[in-house]
């Protein structure tokens, strides 16, 4: 098995924060991580002279590469080191295209520069940001032999999915001066000769690509020193001050997106404060419930916000007055007022949003990858493209017309003003009766909607283990409730006085400077959240902690790893056994989990896949920290230096305070029983 890292940066580009490359760091990295091969892959550039120096200095194979910014994401292109001048020449062409972070290379340009991509090792960012996706991925797909992910979790998921290509995990590190913490991300490949052709053949066969040298994908390197942990459930045991918490932190540092629940993180400290913070957290956590429920209403409010009924009334009244005046002055009409343009009105100008939405929808039909088969079964894609083009042409035609009308409108205004100055007859005030009528209807509908919104209703009910989260909608019961919602200095008293008249209420809310217009829609109906326990009663302090733990754990699936430090610090054994253990075990099937514990309910009953035992030992009077690890069924746990400890005694010491205490406890329980 060869341990490889084919994604390393040695030169800062427009895409990186500035750094100074260090050959010493690279040498240490390759040595300490025991790598068998590396590739140098800087963003959109290749530096031949630096590559030659690295190749001379590093005693494992070094491959030339480049990380190219494509339209949708990043792509690694790696070559054999036997045609470096040619690789440099091609990289220079890429560099000439990419001058700023906004620039990218198209697939056509890529093939124009590199010719047959089949000659190279092509690895796209896949389950890693920024990922190559959509049409671009389809174009690249025939040339790739592996795709890059950013966590062991994604690696395992992709490896197990027979429809997916082979995953690879690389460091993506910047090799800079004084770098002390290395990445633990690398991939093992079962490949004899490390030439591009051989590597590609190997990568195409998933059974030759793993996270560990001997244990397949059951284990992965979680720490840069090579310490392995399980891709399932790990339990860290050990006495006080032996480095358990530090180990957890070090593992977290190696992940892009860990969920780390620290010790005492969830435990209640002060009753009242805890209760308030808990309610706030639940409200914040469930803010999507309010937003989802009120989102359609937000659109209504956005439209109504710009309506000014008082101004509309004034427009109509001015129009009628000027019309009457003009009729009475008909005898005074002159050469200026007799021109057609004197009484002319402007063109109504508005953009057709429906057409715009239609273009977007057609574009979605053309570009959607997920449902392409179904779409193509019914509609020919080339016809869809033609449809999109015709709709765009129609959109541009309408835009041209609108711009021309805008020119005419401004010209009419200018000429009318000049004619008004000369004429003895007063002009007729402009009025848009269509818009004014529509505004009136909109306000009537708005009032109906707001009144419906104030009706009491349960809008959300979610069960989480033994708890229920209920959201209820209803009217605000006073200015204080509005004030509490904003949580900023503002007076809602004038607004609440007209709460029964939605349009007037809206006008008053607009006057509150601390309340942004974009948030106004949340102030018409109140959403209350309640967390209820099994008996339908509000939760106690202990139950709040339990709820928080379950909530946090539940979200772990979206993270790369779940790390929990001594969950027993705040929970009783029954809760841990009946609720937490099973959830954690289930979770560990999809995301790696590491738990630090002293508690036998967790340590011995959770069903760990891998054990780590931290230890502080002394050598020549100096404290050294070690980790012994192995499978739960192993007789001995082994450390990286080859030393080992007995599994049984170290586990019973950590969880039961030793064999004697364990026996004494058993006897105690037997006596009670008898």
């Amino acid at each position: 098995m060869k341990k490889v890292d084919f994604h390393i940066h040695t030169i800062p580009s427009v895409r990186d924060a500035d750094f100074v490359f260090s050959m010493d760091t690279l040498t240490r990295y390759v040595h300490e991580r025991s790598l068998d091969a590396i590739a140098i892959t800087n963003h959109d550039l290749f530096d031949l002279s630096q590559f030659i120096q690295i190749d001379k200095q590093i005693d494992v194979p070094v491959l030339p590469g480049i990380e190219i910014n494509m339209q949708s994401g990043h792509l690694l292109v790696i070559d054999n080191p036997d045609r470096l001048d040619d690789f440099q020449e091609k990289a220079d062409k890429i560099r000439a295209i990419i001058k700023t972070v906004e620039d990218h290379v198209t697939f056509e340009k890529l093939t124009e520069i590199y010719g047959d991509l089949g000659e190279y090792l092509i690895i796209p960012h896949y389950q890693k940001k920024p990922a190559i996706s959509g049409d671009e991925l389809n174009l690249i797909l025939p040339y790739i032999s592996a795709a890059e992910v950013d966590s062991p979790k994604k690696f395992v998921r992709m490896w197990n999915d027979t429809n997916q290509t082979t995953p690879v995990l690389f460091s993506d590190m910047r090799i800079k001066e004084n770098l002390t913490k290395f990445s633990s991300r690398s991939t093992y490949i079962d490949c004899g000769e490390l030439a591009v052709k051989k590597i590609k053949a190997c990568l195409r066969d998933k059974t030759k690509v793993f996270l560990s040298p001997l244990d397949g994908n059951k284990l992965f390197e979680a720490l840069p020193n090579g310490q392995m942990i399980s891709t399932g459930l790990n339990v860290i045991l050990g006495g006080r001050s032996t480095g358990k918490t530090v180990t957890l932190k070090n593992i977290a540092e190696q992940m892009y997106d860990p969920l780390h629940i620290e010790q005492f993180d969830l435990v209640q400290k002060e009753e009242e404060l805890d209760k308030r913070l808990f309610e706030e957290a639940v409200t914040r956590d469930k803010s999507h419930v309010e937003e989802n429920h009120l989102l359609p209403f937000k659109d209504v409010v956005d439209r109504v916000l710009s309506i000014d009924l008082a101004e509309n009334e004034k427009e109509v009244s001015d129009y009628v007055d000027s019309l009457m005046k003009s009729a009475s002055e008909s005898a005074l009409r002159d050469a200026f007022s007799n021109t057609a343009i004197f009484d002319e009105t402007t063109f109504p100008v508005s953009s057709d949003d429906t057409l715009k939405a239609l273009i977007r929808s057609t574009q979605q039909l053309v570009e959607n990858v997920e449902y392409r088969k179904i779409i193509e079964k019914h509609i020919d894609r080339s016809q869809l493209r033609k449809l999109a083009c015709e709709l765009i042409e129609e959109r541009w035609r309408q835009e041209d017309e609108i711009r021309q009308k805008a020119v005419v409108n401004s010209l009419i205004g200018e000429i009318k003003q000049a004619l008004d100055m000369k004429s003895a007859v007063a002009p007729i005030s402009p009025v848009d009766l269509y818009r004014i009528t529509l505004d009136k209807i909109r306000i009537e509908r708005f009032t109906e909607i707001v009144n419906l919104l104030k009706c009491e209703k349960d809008i959300y009910d979610e069960t989480i283990q033994d708890f229920r989260v209920v959201a209820k909608r209803g009217p605000f019961r006073g200015a204080q409730e509005l004030h509490d919602k904003l949580a900023r200095q503002a007076s809602f008293t004038p607004a609440y006085r007209v709460y029964e008249n939605p349009y007037q209420y809206l006008q008053e809310l607009k006057c509150i400077s601390a309340l942004p217009n974009t948030e106004i829609y949340k102030y018409f109906a109140k959403i209350d959240y309640k967390i209820l326990n099994n008996d339908g009663a509000e939760v106690s302090g202990g139950e709040r902690s339990e709820f928080r733990l379950l909530q946090k754990i539940k979200r772990a699936t979206v993270h790369d790893i779940l790390l929990i430090d001594e969950p027993e610090s705040g929970f009783d054994n029954i809760f841990l056994k009946t609720n937490v253990n099973q959830i954690i075990k289930d979770l560990s099937k999809t995301v790696p989990v590491v738990i630090v514990t002293h508690n036998s309910t967790i340590g011995a009953s959770v069903g760990a896949d891998y054990l780590l035992h931290t230890s502080k030992e002394y050598k020549d009077g100096k404290a050294i920290y070690k980790i012994y690890s192995g499978y739960p069924t192993d007789t001995y746990l082994t450390s990286l230096d080859g030393s080992n400890i007995e599994n049984y005694s170290s586990t019973i010491n950590a969880l039961e305070a030793g064999v004697d205490a364990y026996k004494a406890r058993s006897e105690f329980y037997e006596n009670i029983k008898n």
Binding site: F336, T339, A388, Q404, A418
Partner: protein, 97 residues
Amino acid sequence: MRILKIEGGNGHFCANGEEFVSIDKLDKDSLLKLVELALTQEVEMDDYDSETLKNEAHRIIYRSVHKKLQELVARKDEFFDKSEREFYEIYENYKNS
């Protein structure tokens, strides 16, 4: 084609390519047609001249319309430049694929 002319001390416009109408009869629809012609055709217009235009109402209308149409003729290409338009990239991509 000629779209604005001064004749007999009065201003005239031609929006349909056939007949000239006195400029005091210019309404918004005719004006829109003149704008379209200025942007899409080779048009000719008599220069504004306050001496030959005797009618003061005609002077006001003719001067503004003439000035605006001249501006549009000068910026014709810019007006229809599609490269800055919304959906331009999609359009080019789909049209050529």
